[in-house]
């Protein structure tokens, strides 16, 4: 495994957990080495399936509970003192209410979240692709300090730079603006993307580049025409994680965005339940509307990205 296998957003801003390409590449189908093992006794199967089923139930229960509750009318959510798994009377009114409340503010938040996450991803990947390549291919003077500075950045607690960043954004007059938030997210996204992409470029065999250079491509031409197209899977994974990190971010968004029409989803949804009159019926419905696409995209992307990673490039 390469020493670069540990890029991560550890700033506590997004808290997204990240698999390196190497880790992902290893999660293919199980090897078929079991052909000649003896059959497992029935009680072992029982224990195995029993524990897996129990784990699965625990894993999906919170989501299930949110889903079920989103169909209960408010009175049923906040009045039933005895356990009532399925709703007594199913309703879609929570969904109607959360979508239309305060002039469709939920949809505005949704839009804000998507815009900021996409912008962060674009900025992060565009700025850092060349740097990731340089770090992967060249051992220039200053290489070690540069690499270490990226590593330490991954360890930054938000606390240490959040105050100065807040000051910069205030001085630029970007408080309560998407651009201010974009600036703040770049502090995390740029070093993160550089790390991720360096890790991926490391896995691409160098023979192709040498051939391209002999055939007369410039250094940048080699990067742009040979390496980048080969790196589509790595770029996709990096985009995916950067998007998710920005999508989940709370700490910066909470202080930079001040008016409800500027909120992102986490900040907006938080207002539903951090008030005296907790609006769980709205929160559960809103949560479902966010979760369903997120889970579908994740499960789809996961499979696609994994197979893409194992296919990429040629074997060295």
């Amino acid at each position: 495994m390469s020493s670069a296998g540990v890029p991560a957003d550890t700033t506590g801003l997004g808290g997204e957990e990240v698999l390196t390409p190497q880790m992902l590449a290893a999660t293919r189908k199980a090897p078929s080495r079991r052909g000649r093992r003896r059959v497992r006794p029935w009680y072992m199967s029982l224990v195995l399936h029993g524990s897996l089923i129990a784990a699965t139930i625990i894993a999906i229960f919170p989501v299930f509970w949110i889903a079920i509750s989103s169909f209960k009318p408010r009175e049923e959510i906040i009045s039933s003192v005895t356990l009532n798994i399925l709703p007594d009377d199913w309703t879609l009114s929570n969904y109607r209410e959360v979508i239309t409340a305060n002039d469709y503010e939920f949809l505005t938040w949704f839009g804000n979240s998507i815009v900021i996450a996409i912008l962060t991803t674009i900025v992060g990947v565009f700025l850092s692709a060349t740097a990731g390549y340089a770090l992967s291919r060249y051992r220039f003077p200053g290489y070690r300090p540069a690499l270490n500075s990226f590593l330490v950045t991954q360890m930054f607690p938000a606390a240490i730079i959040i105050v100065p960043i807040y000051q910069i954004i205030t001085n630029l007059g970007l408080i309560n603006q998407q651009l201010g938030l974009l600036l703040a997210y770049s502090t995390v996204a740029v070093p993160f993307c550089t790390w991720m992409l360096k890790g991926y470029f490391d896995t691409i065999p160098i023979a192709l580049e040498e051939a391209a250079r002999i055939d007369g491509l410039t250094p940048f031409g080699t990067f742009y025409r040979i390496v980048l197209p080969l790196s589509t899977p790595g770029l996709a994974v990096t985009c995916f994680y950067t998007f998710i990190t920005a999508w989940n971010e709370v700490a910066f968004a909470n202080i930079i965005l001040l008016s409800p029409e500027k909120y992102t989803l986490p900040v907006g949804l938080r207002t539903y339940v951090y008030q005296f009159d907790q609006a769980w019926e709205k929160l559960t419905a809103g949560a479902m509307l966010v979760t369903i696409p997120a889970v579908l995209v994740f499960l789809f992307a996961q499979r696609y990205l994994v197979s893409g990673l194992t296919r990429g490039g040629v074997k060295g």
């Binding site: 495994m1 296998g5 506590g12 808290g15 997204e16 060349t130 220039f140 105050v163 989940n248 994740f298």
Partner: protein, 329 residues
């Protein structure tokens, strides 16, 4: 500056030095001629990092030695009049009872979480690494906690721990407990609540990472051990676990750093409360900055957090290296 000078890695790696003893200027010129392309490629990121990471970092460290607060700093309506006060923030923080409490819970939070992430993740990975009916289905469903956006998961747990109509309280009433605890209102239960939620959140990542590690273990070794008469437990202990060590060393370190810095779960489930009972250093620093507006104190916390992580990471790497691993080169 011929094209062969833009050396591709291996060839260019060692040749940068050792040619007589040219003057510093000369060396600079030569290095630049040799490496201009690498530097050019790094420039955009370097500029961003300088402006958005290193400058704020320096400024943050500077703030930690000042008395900056809402009246003398970062206030558009008032002039900046904050002053250098030396180590006062640090001595005040390190002496305070809150710091000790928060540090104590941070340690509990970090180690308990990572312990369960790792053990449960490993157990599930081992189970999923067998030939098994519905293996794909289990794997997919077990990934759900990771697939759900983390802020949604945090809200879901806050909802389930609600008193009196959260799921857990209702369940306890059903089981005959007359007045079940207010999970988020009691300091001890609140600690329990945030830790359970975060354990739930972090297991799938460890599971997938360790599953990858398990599948990379050479099955011939296991077969050889079986031929030599090792039972399942001995094979696991003497072949599988040592084989997992490189992956495990990495994901445990990552897990420790992530958990140490975890913001969302605590901030969204309890907000650090009741009181400061569920604050960890990362959330408490934030709270100092934006609830109490004590910017000097908050950045002092930030510096303390970074120091702890740096020292810990060095120590961890040293330990792992001594155990003879080549995880970091």
């Amino acid at each position: 500056m011929t094209s062969t000078d833009q050396s591709l890695p291996a060839s260019g790696a060692q040749t940068g030095r050792k040619r007589g003893d040219p003057s510093f200027r000369e060396r600079l010129r030569r290095n630049f001629g040799r490496w201009w392309f690498a530097y050019a490629m790094l420039t955009p990121v370097f500029i961003v990092m300088a402006l958005l990471v290193f400058y704020p970092l320096g400024k943050g460290i500077y703030f930690s030695f000042t008395n900056a607060d809402q009246y003398n700093a970062l206030n558009p309506l008032l002039p900046s009049t904050y002053e250098w006060i030396g180590l006062e923030n640090y001595t005040n923080v390190l002496r305070s009872q809150e710091f000790r409490d928060v540090l104590g819970f941070t340690a509990v939070w970090t180690f308990v979480n990572v312990f369960f992430h790792f053990t449960l993740g490993l157990a599930l990975a081992v189970a999923l690494n067998r030939t098994l009916k519905f293996r794909g289905t289990y794997r997919m469903l077990l990934l759900v906690p990771w697939a759900v956006p983390s802020f949604i998961s945090a809200f879901a747990w806050r909802f389930m721990y609600n008193n009196p109509y959260g799921f857990f309280d209702q369940l306890l009433v059903k089981l005959g407990w007359e007045s079940p605890p207010a999970f988020l209102g009691d300091p001890t239960w609140a600690k329990f609540a945030v830790i359970t939620a975060n354990v739930w959140l972090g297991v799938p990542f460890m599971m997938v990472a360790l599953l990858g590690g398990l599948q990379a273990i050479d099955s011939d070794l296991l077969d050889a051990a079986a031929v030599d008469g090792a039972n399942a437990w001995q094979r696991f202990w003497s072949v599988t676990l040592p084989g997992l060590r490189p992956v495990a060393a990495t994901v445990i370190l990552l897990g420790l750093i992530w958990t140490f810095n975890m913001f969302n779960v605590i901030y969204l489930i309890t907000g650090g409360g009741p009181g400061t009972s569920t604050q960890i250093l990362a959330t408490y620093a934030y709270s100092n900055a934006f609830d109490f507006k004590l910017y000097g104190v908050a950045t002092a916390y930030g510096v303390i957090i970074l120091s702890i992580l740096l020292v810990f990471t060095q120590f961890y790497k040293y330990t792992v290296k001594r155990m003879g691993e080549e995880t970091w080169s």
